[in-house]
Symmetry: C2
Subunit: 193 residues, 2 copies
């Protein structure tokens, strides 16, 4: 039951922080949305920063599950897995009218300079996203889908940050165009035999 | 004299907003840093949003001057101009201990969903950055430095958002590595004959 309350706070907080940013979201606003007793926050979290670090765990688990579902689909070739992840994400953002972007990328931009604890935790999170790509790119090389010459470690980081940049531009373009350009350039120029 | 006060507010505001974000910066904090009378803010700006829109003009002018200085240097080839802009930026961020990132990219991420006025103004700003690249890439094509097949309009947008993504990752890596990866991938895979 206690864990339910903690989860409710994280779930409500995730939705508001994703939309409005971390500093722009108040604790009271989160507790109102979660419909939990006012005192619960400090029972589960030391302070707002501690809550933010738990929120990164929450987002990371959420994305890991989506990525794993697609990347473990053995009916797809390695590059088809990446294409599926990108098109699934594009559909998701279309349904959200191209708002919000990636919560991890957003927090990196917003909190990277303001809290060393956030900075270290977000670096770990971005590295773990790149690790998912790295594994798939190793499989893609094995399958002859990409060049032997490609530096897979660097490529995996490049894909993640170009994706974060495309999402930032999506928020002001209010269209899928930046995501489509990202996809075309990654596949036409980098992920090819 | 009046314009001096307005400029002082924008200059102080630019420094704080660049470091802390727009929503996380208070008007009082800006006026204290600018050392101008408390009443001046609403003499020059209708409200905080109006101030933010003027701040985008301020940042845009600042970057336009840097870009024009480099891109008008006729001793450099078109691609050398882009390399010089990227290496100048990298040195700049090194001197800032890899903090802050691009103010326009930051505001796009932070404000793109929260204010239609910001969204439209930031889209215009990002388009104008892409236009600078577009012009140089046309020259690079003319000079045979890049492939005839490259879609220059899309490439110019890709370079700008991959750059914004690299800067976001720089803030959490606290190193030049994301900027170096960005540079290598752009030149090794996209901007080549």
């Amino acid at each position: 039951m206690k864990q339910d309350t903690k989860y409710k706070i994280l779930e409500a907080g995730a939705e508001i922080v994703h939309r409005k940013g971390f500093n722009h979201t108040g604790i009271k606003e989160i507790l109102d949305a979660a419909q939990v007793p006012k005192g619960s926050f400090y029972f589960y979290f030391k302070n707002k920063e501690d809550f933010g670090l738990h929120l990164i765990d929450y987002f990371e688990e959420y994305f890991s599950n989506i990525i794993k579902d697609i990347f473990n689909d053995s009916s797809l070739s390695p590059l088809e897995k990446i294409r599926t992840l990108l098109s699934t994400s594009k559909e998701h953002f279309k349904s959200m009218d191209y708002c919000c972007g990636c919560p991890i990328g957003n927090l990196a931009q917003e909190m990277g300079d303001l809290s060393p604890a956030f900075q270290a935790r977000l670096k770990k999170s971005v590295d773990s996203m790149a690790d998912y790509y790295r594994e798939i790119l190793l499989q893609a090389r094995e399958a002859g889908e990409i060049s032997e010459k490609l530096d897979i470690k660097e490529a995996s980081h490049f894909i993640v940050f170009a994706w974060h940049g495309a999402l930032t531009h999506m928020k002001i373009a209010k269209s899928a165009e930046p995501l489509e350009i990202q996809e075309r350039f990654i596949f036409d120029y980098i992920l090819k035999p």
